[in-house]
């Protein structure tokens, strides 16, 4: 991680000379802000706790943590984290976070949202964020329902789900988040469950380590408007939480049957499994990030202009216009 005062711009430079006092290890207390406004029992509490845990464990410089969200119950997230952050408009959190990541590659950009933000109003941005492979981590709390607006059908509501906008039961085919994310081009695609905190922490850590557009879909129950939705995957409620067995590359016959996370087609097959499906990393690719490709282009361009100062570069351009 770079020093606290570098601006992280590809052009380098700007450091401040003001003393940067020594820092203590990041604690949960330091990064806790407002008390969450979620309903008691909401799955999102566990997500918040897991996020704190990972930040604490990784001891990320507090000022470099950027927590971003769009609109929805889960998108209240930044208010509960004491760090730089923004609560943006519905569906556009991915581009907002992309802008931050691209202009300031030194920051840790974490993005939180729900199924409405990610798969409906902002669906296009999720595809393009993935296609561009912008370096950031996107955590989608999927509750299969619009909770903030009090129970309307969501893009992931199963057929037959009765909501205020589908009193007869939902009739539209729900989005398959894993398939959408992989097809869109995300380079780290994982799935977890809010009742499985350890697994969730593991996924967030792996997503954080991943260079590129990493997305985690987390089944996070809305106790108010879709209670019990994810019980089939919750062992404490009689369900089964089935993990993806990843290849260990140990040349054993068992390994043949395990999942190769770089195999896109195999990932689609896992994504096809009937609800509640499996959990873990579906797909991961080391395709170069937009951040690194842009950086390379900047370096080439800077070299071409002899690494001149801003004034020199513009003056030379104007000289050609005489």
């Amino acid at each position: 991680m770079s020093e606290a005062n570098t601006n992280g711009s590809p052009n380098g430079g700007a450091t401040t000379t003001v003393a940067d006092p020594p820092r203590e290890k990041l604690t949960k207390k330091a990064i806790t802000a407002d008390h969450p406004t979620w309903c008691p029992g909401c799955g999102d509490f566990a997500v918040l706790a897991s996020y704190y845990k990972v930040l604490e464990k990784r001891n990320i410089d507090q000022e470099k943590i950027v927590t971003i969200a769009g609109i929805g119950c889960s998108s209240r997230f930044p208010y509960f984290v004491n760090g730089h952050g923004a609560h943006f408009i519905h569906g556009r959190a991915v581009p907002l976070a992309s802008g931050i990541s691209l202009a300031r590659p030194d920051l840790h950009v974490f993005l939180f949202g729900g199924d409405g933000d990610g798969f409906s109003i902002g669906g296009n941005h999720v595809d393009h964020g993935g296609r561009k492979n912008v370096n950031l981590t996107y955590f989608i709390m999927d509750n299969f329902v619009y909770g903030l607006t009090k129970k309307q059908t969501s893009p992931t509501s199963p057929i037959g789900f009765k909501s205020k906008t589908d009193p007869q039961g939902a009739i539209d085919q729900p989005v398959n988040p894993m398939k959408k994310l992989i097809a869109g081009g995300a380079t780290f695609v994982a799935r977890t469950h809010a009742s499985q905190v350890n697994h969730m922490i593991q996924m967030i850590e792996r997503a954080t380590d991943h260079q590129g557009f990493s997305v985690i879909e987390c089944l996070s129950e809305c106790v108010e408007f879709y209670p019990g939705a994810f019980d089939p995957a919750n062992p404490r409620k009689g369900g089964s939480f089935e993990l993806i067995q990843e290849k260990k590359w140990d040349n054993t016959p068992e390994d043949e049957l395990r999942h190769d996370v770089t195999d896109e087609l195999a990932a689609y097959k896992l994504a096809q499994l009937p609800f509640p499906g499996v959990f873990g990393v579906f797909y991961q690719s080391d395709r170069p990030t937009k951040n690194s490709l842009e950086k390379k282009w900047i370096e080439q361009s800077r070299e071409k202009v002899g690494n001149g100062s801003d004034v020199e570069v513009l003056q030379r351009t104007f000289d050609k216009m005489k």
């Binding site: 003393a19 609560h87 931050i100 300031r104 296009n124 513009l314």
Partner: protein, 651 residues
């Protein structure tokens, strides 16, 4: 001007190409160039003929020769082809408008001739491709110069490129006729095509040479020569570019290193320049998947500490408005360029209109103050971008720059800016702070970008929800009122520092013409003409439209009528968009407007007709010197002076 008109002026027969192929006839020795100060040259052809390229060469040459220049072009909205014009006005004195009428018309096709002969002033020269155009030679108002442009180009280039290159051939002809500096032009051509294959440069130079060597002297009595402008001692060199290019470099000079956009006419060329240029300064411009993403990415970049820009034309701005509302609420600096075109909806994508003013000022839900600026010339596109960036930073607010199609595409030469003095170092300030409030009620917001340590451990939050001073949500009615006032009051603070624009012409009198944006030149020239005809009038051109500078009411007091001149509709209540604002702001019944929506720039006499109805000088046919030429003889030998051919002081 004012010289007696020679009745014997005239058209020209076709030269015999056979003679040309052999030993070219020698140039006439008695062709002494006639001095001129100002000429409007209109090239009319199809968009694929490269007339823009040829016109741009002329503009650059003028810029290099310290002359004033302004161009005007129309582009068809079709994907490829279609009639198109490129007009260049070159002057030794001040050139503020592209010219109402052409002094010299080049017609490549019959349709070019038919569509544009009406723009040729009486006594003007029609240079036409005699392979494609059959003009009505009986119309004796003009001087005809028929040259088989297509055939000669094919002949010169060996026919491999079909008739491509005839634009450069014509450029050669023009530079001979106007005695332009051929060496300089060849250098400009070489520079332009230099990045390509050497054969491209050679072909272009061959075409140019063929046009230049053509014995056009046999067809004209005189060549013309622009008076040499006096170069003031210590004057800076001129640079030549179009408005979109000036806007893009202005953003860079203003310290913008990051941005995002989505292609749309006529904004695209701004983002093309930024995409290409920003990496040289360590930044990037992102082509986003749509307008919503592009504004959001730009806001993210701004939030990260690097003031960013986005832009579009009207339809794209409509899509961006929700996010711009957020920038207003979260008090995020952002520069938004709107290169306006004809609307609403897809409208007239390649025509000019100033109908997005209200959208820029009011285009949002809720009370969402923002700043709106409008450049008045190509040069001003550069400087206003710097100002927009400065205001965005100082007041932590979105700032609109309203350009338009006419500024976007027209080329002007202007004094090169003193970059060492004006360029902004944009690096984010990440100095650790003891404590930080993003939204203090008693101050103008200045954000601490992420990466800034806040030593008391309380980090700021940017929010679209109404918030308290730390950015945390609040439903308090009192706080909503206080924060709404905070966001509005900084605009009032800004208004205090804005200068009242100078009035051109009479400082008090009968009529004050008020304009904004690209109409600056024609309004200025209209006032000039009106004053020459005894009117007591002046003009005031607003660069800062929202907020308005303080003190305009004092200016308005001094005139009996205030008339805004705008390229938008008079609306349901009969007033243009600026007039509507001014009337609301000043409760002044003497404010009215003259508007139009034909998708074309104002001509000076349109403004005169609109503002000074019934006055003789404003009549459609403005009597002018030299206009009464009666052509009786088609023999070019009879052309006596340049003034008969290339009229002076078009306006």
């Amino acid at each position: 001007m004012g010289e007696p008109v020679n009745p014997d002026v005239t058209a020209v027969q076709k030269p015999d190409p056979a003679t040309l192929a052999g030993a070219p006839p020698s140039e006439r020795a008695d062709l002494r160039p006639e001095n001129i100060q100002d000429a409007v040259i209109r090239l009319a052809g199809n968009s694929q003929d490269g007339i823009q390229t040829a016109g741009a060469f002329l503009a650059r040459l003028a810029g290099r020769s310290a002359q004033e220049v302004m161009t005007y072009m129309t582009i068809p909205a079709t994907i490829s082809g279609g009639p198109s014009i490129f007009q260049v006005r070159i002057g030794t004195g001040e050139v503020l408008s592209a010219g109402d009428e052409a002094d010299f018309l080049v017609a490549f096709y019959q349709h070019s001739y038919q569509d544009h002969i009406g723009f040729l002033r009486e006594g003007g020269v029609l240079l036409y491709d005699s392979d494609n155009v059959e003009p009505n030679l009986d119309d004796k108002r003009f001087v005809y110069l028929g040259i088989p442009i297509t055939g000669l180009t094919v002949e010169a280039l060996g026919g491999t490129a079909k008739d491509r290159g005839k634009n450069i051939f014509v450029l050669g002809l023009i530079s001979k006729i106007f005695q332009l500096d051929a060496d300089k032009l060849k250098r400009i051509i070489t520079e332009k095509f230099g990045g390509k294959d050497q054969s491209v440069v050679n072909t272009a130079l061959m075409a140019f040479q063929a046009g230049y060597a053509y014995p056009v002297g046999n067809l004209l009595k005189h060549f013309y020569q622009f008076e040499k402008p006096e170069k003031k001692p210590g004057a800076r060199d001129q640079i030549t570019m179009d408005g979109n290019t000036a806007l893009a470099y202005g953003l860079i000079a203003g310290g913008i290193r990051f941005g995002a956009g989505y292609p749309i006419t006529p904004w695209s060329t701004v983002m093309e320049v930024l995409r290409r240029e920003l990496p040289k300064y360590g930044g990037i411009f992102v082509q986003a998947e749509d307008e919503l993403a592009s504004v959001s990415i730009a806001i993210g970049m701004s939030y990260s500490g690097w003031l960013a820009c986005t832009g579009s034309a009207g339809p794209g701005i409509s899509l961006k408005t929700e996010a711009i509302g957020w920038a207003s609420m979260a008090e995020m600096p952002l520069v938004i360029c709107n290169v306006q075109r004809g609307g609403p909806s897809t409208g007239l994508p390649t025509n000019v209109e100033q109908s997005d003013l209200h959208q820029a000022i009011f285009g949002s839900h809720g009370d969402s103050p923002r700043v709106v600026l409008a450049p008045r010339t190509v040069e001003d596109c550069f400087y206003i971008a710097i100002e927009a960036a400065r205001i965005a930073r100082k007041y932590s607010t979105p700032v609109f720059i309203l350009s338009d199609t006419s500024l976007a595409t027209r080329i002007e030469a202007f004094d090169e800016p003193d970059l060492a003095k004006i360029m902004i170092d944009p690096k984010p300030n990440l100095t650790p702070r003891e404590t930080h409030k993003p939204y203090p009620l008693d101050q103008i917001t200045q954000h601490a970008p992420p990466g800034t340590r806040i030593l008391d451990g309380k980090y700021p939050l940017m929010s679209g929800l109404e918030h308290d001073e730390m950015g945390h949500p609040t439903g308090s009615p009192k706080l909503h009122m206080a924060m709404t006032a905070k966001r509005r009051n900084k605009m009032r603070k800004l208004a205090e520092e804005l200068p009242v624009p100078e009035i051109y012409g009479d400082q008090e009198g009968d009529v004050l013409l008020v304009g904004w944006g690209s109409t600056y030149g024609p309004i200025h020239d209209a006032v000039k003409r009106a004053r020459e005809n005894g009117e007591k009038c002046g003009s005031l051109h607003l660069r800062h439209i929202h907020p308005l500078p303080n003190g305009l009411e004092k200016v308005f007091k001094n005139f009996k009528r205030i008339v805004t001149v705008e390229m938008n509709d008079q609306g349901i209540y009969g007033y243009g968009q600026l007039a509507t604002l001014l009337r609301a702001r000043y409760c002044e019944p003497k404010i009215s407007s003259f508007t139009k929506t034909d998708g074309l720039t104002f001509r000076v006499r349109e403004i005169l007709e609109g503002v000074f109805q019934g006055k003789s000088f404003a009549a459609r046919n403005i009597p002018r010197d030299g206009a009464a030429i009666v052509h009786t003889d088609t023999n070019p030998e009879n052309v006596k002076t340049t003034r008969e051919v290339v009229p002076q002081g078009v306006g």
